[in-house]
């Protein structure tokens, strides 16, 4: 058994850290809250670094790496709150690659910026494919497609799409005549409306997409590829959260050692020490779950849904606790703009509600276990 990083993986991680150093993304996350023009777009950085093609096979024009490799990059992005749309780009790239689609190479190289419209596979309690609702707790239906040859005509809406307004093309999962199909649509095509928006966290550009008779090209991806896209997105979001927690903990520890009250460092009080150890516990658990998710992606397709949902559930929980502990360790100042803690809190609050939500992932873990899936 060997779970240590290979030399190539160490190199990938260091390279990612280096590439992200060129912009002070944490400072940008703060400035962009007040000034929309300050919202940085690191698209060029990720294209130059080759991240758009991380998960695309070499035949499909990519690097042909594994999910754990992409997760290493995602962790680095999470660490510095980088506004990088990997959670949208990479699932789209995997669908196009699985289909052997002609657009695969352009997406892998970053020539074509594509946003993936999130579509959740059915669960034991929800027999349909669904998307996130604009509000409320009821899952929304997929857009519908009528197909004529290789052309599909789409109608419907998908909410809270990452990178929607920045992308040149949209990869839509739609209800076709015989089940879900993938359709690639030009973002500027007639019948496509993208309402770009930001909510609470300036590091994640979002959009509501409305399709009203919009036409696109059918991508020959099977249902399995569409399922895997969802699970990959869950795993990547989990990895970003792990990176964020990993960055938070040392900051809190340093402050707990330096700040004194009643004649001693606050980190000596059990009340704080135990909270910080709890963050470490949840972080280590989440790291273990990333390993499971990546392992299942390569080795155990029947466990991929369970493994990625568990990773998302565990990592979001760690992020929630870590961002709150960050504020409480720093006292009142941690809840003000004098400190970076609110930026991390905002990040956690928004991402918990995206892509099916943290609660949706937890529910999927239960569903898979109840359905008899046994983890490795």
């Amino acid at each position: 058994m060997d779970l240590s990083l290979t030399d190539e993986q160490e190199f990938l991680r260091e390279a990612a850290r280096g590439a992200l150093k060129r912009v002070d993304t944490v400072a940008a996350a703060r400035e962009a809250l007040e000034d929309e023009t300050k919202r940085p777009d690191l698209w060029k950085t990720i294209v130059e670094a080759g991240w758009t093609g991380l998960l695309t096979s070499e035949d499909g024009g990519g690097a042909g790496l594994g999910l754990y490799d992409a997760m290493l990059v995602a962790q680095e992005c999470g660490r510095v709150l980088a506004p990088v749309p990997l959670v949208s780009t990479l699932p789209a790239a995997t669908v196009l690659d699985a289909a052997g689609d002609e657009a695969s190479a352009a997406v892998a190289s970053g020539e074509l910026r594509v946003a993936w419209l999130p579509a959740a596979p059915p669960t034991d309690q929800e027999p349909r494919w669904t998307t996130d609702p604009k509000g409320g707790i009821l899952r929304a239906t997929l857009p519908t497609a009528t197909v004529d040859g290789s052309t599909a005509t789409l109608s419907g809406a998908v909410h809270w799409v990452l990178d929607a307004a920045q992308a040149e093309a949209l990869l839509v999962t739609a209800e076709g005549p015989d089940g879900p199909i993938a359709v690639l649509v030009d973002a500027s095509a007639s019948g496509v409306t993208v309402e770009g928006l930001w909510r609470y966290d300036a590091t994640r550009p979002l959009g509501h997409v409305t399709l009203d008779g919009a036409q696109g090209r059918v991508v020959a991806a099977d249902e399995l590829a569409l399922r895997r896209a969802w699970h990959v997105a869950q795993g990547l979001l989990a990895a970003e959260a792990v990176g964020t927690v990993d960055a938070l903990l040392p900051v809190a520890i340093a402050y707990a050692k330096e700040r004194h009250t009643f004649g001693r460092a606050i980190g000596s009080y059990q009340a704080l020490k135990h909270q910080l150890v709890e963050v470490l516990r949840l972080l280590e658990n989440a790291k273990s779950l990333l390993i499971y998710a990546a392992w299942a992606h390569e080795n155990a397709p029947d466990e991929l849904s369970l493994a990625t949902a568990a990773a998302r559930s565990g990592a979001e929980h760690a992020l929630d606790v870590a961002t709150r502990v960050q504020i409480s360790v720093h006292g009142g100042i941690g809840a003000t703009w004098e400190h970076d803690a609110p930026l991390f809190f905002r990040r956690a609050q928004l991402q918990r509600r995206l892509l099916g939500g943290a609660g949706g992932a937890t529910d999927r873990v239960a569903g898979e276990l109840l359905g008899g899936v046994v983890p490795a």
């Binding site: 058994m1 020490k273 709890e278 559930s313 937890t362 873990v365």
Partner: protein, 404 residues
Amino acid sequence: MDLNDDPQQAEFRTQVRSWLNEHKAEAPIVMGEGQIEDEHERIEAWRGWQRKLADAGLCGVTWPEEYGGQGKGPIEQVIVNQELSRAQVPGPLDFIGLGMMGPAIIVHGTDEQKRRYLGPMLHGDEVCCQLFSEPAAGSDLAGVTTRAVEQEDGSFKISGQKVWTTNAQFSAFGVLLARTDADVPKHKGLTMFIVPMDAPGITVRGLRQISGEAEFNEVFLDEVHVPADTVLGQVGGGWSTALTVLMFERLSIGTSSIGYSAERFAAGVLSAPGAAEDPEVRQRLGHVGTEMIASRFAGHRLLSDLAGGKLPGPEFGLGKVTIVKSAIEAGDLLADVLGPDALDTGSEWGYIISFLPGLKSAGGTEEILRNTIGERVLGLPPEPRSDKGVPFSELKAREKEEVA
């Protein structure tokens, strides 16, 4: 990323598995449904099973060959544990002796002690218990008050009380931590002994737990006379011997497989009509399932570290926190969905529900574990202490004064 054994480990696993396949029908049922009712019969059957395991080379896996062990590494021990659990047969009766006391004797014992104790321990002929904790010294183990007074001929008389002693009622020996000098700071005046449990002056009394069963004992020592050659390690060096035992305890807990799994609790939820569709039940199951899966992969990470030559540090204790915490929550969930029947001793879940609250403090309380991890792993400053450098006798006098 490779979850598989390397060729050497795979070969070892095949050997272990094929032996177990051939012999598992001979294993006694020692716990749960169908267990041998009579305690004496159960222990003797279990002892016989340990003997078979020892003869097959499945006991003392990490012990040096010269003491009858297999001379292998912790990975092989984990493989044996995994295969025992896969075959659904019990491990050795004397897991405390094999996992902790034997290794401590190997490190600190004299040649004569090694010859005398290790062989019979390995084969289950003589079980060895751990006489460390006391009613007033648990997590703060160095505060033990059991006194060992040296006699003119160099022998010792030991008096005091020990508690939480698993297997004491049928042990031949106990490894005991006692105070030989109360006039020096508390870590310095300690000595470790190997005490015969049939010595005059020793009384063992079962300690019933929430479940009603007595898995632990209290052990009373009244002027128990032991010769000088029962000292394990140095007189006054008991703390260093204790640390060795605690290190082996960590390795032992870290490499044993605890039978609480996400899939087992999911099957329990399924047996309650309507529970599997209830959103709240699903959230709770999803959370505990996630933590249990994380524990399983934390175990895989530990194995990978061991294979790379790294020993588990204090942070590994977090794995115990997670598995106990999630199993407590899962037991609570099962009782909620199944109703009062789940609490019954005869139910599949009754034992877990009653046993786990105590397990939280086993091997040191969770609070102290969090302190240790906070200080050693995160580098946080320790709580101020008033016992450092103070002679033990003075410390005790001060405590009395404060309470008065």
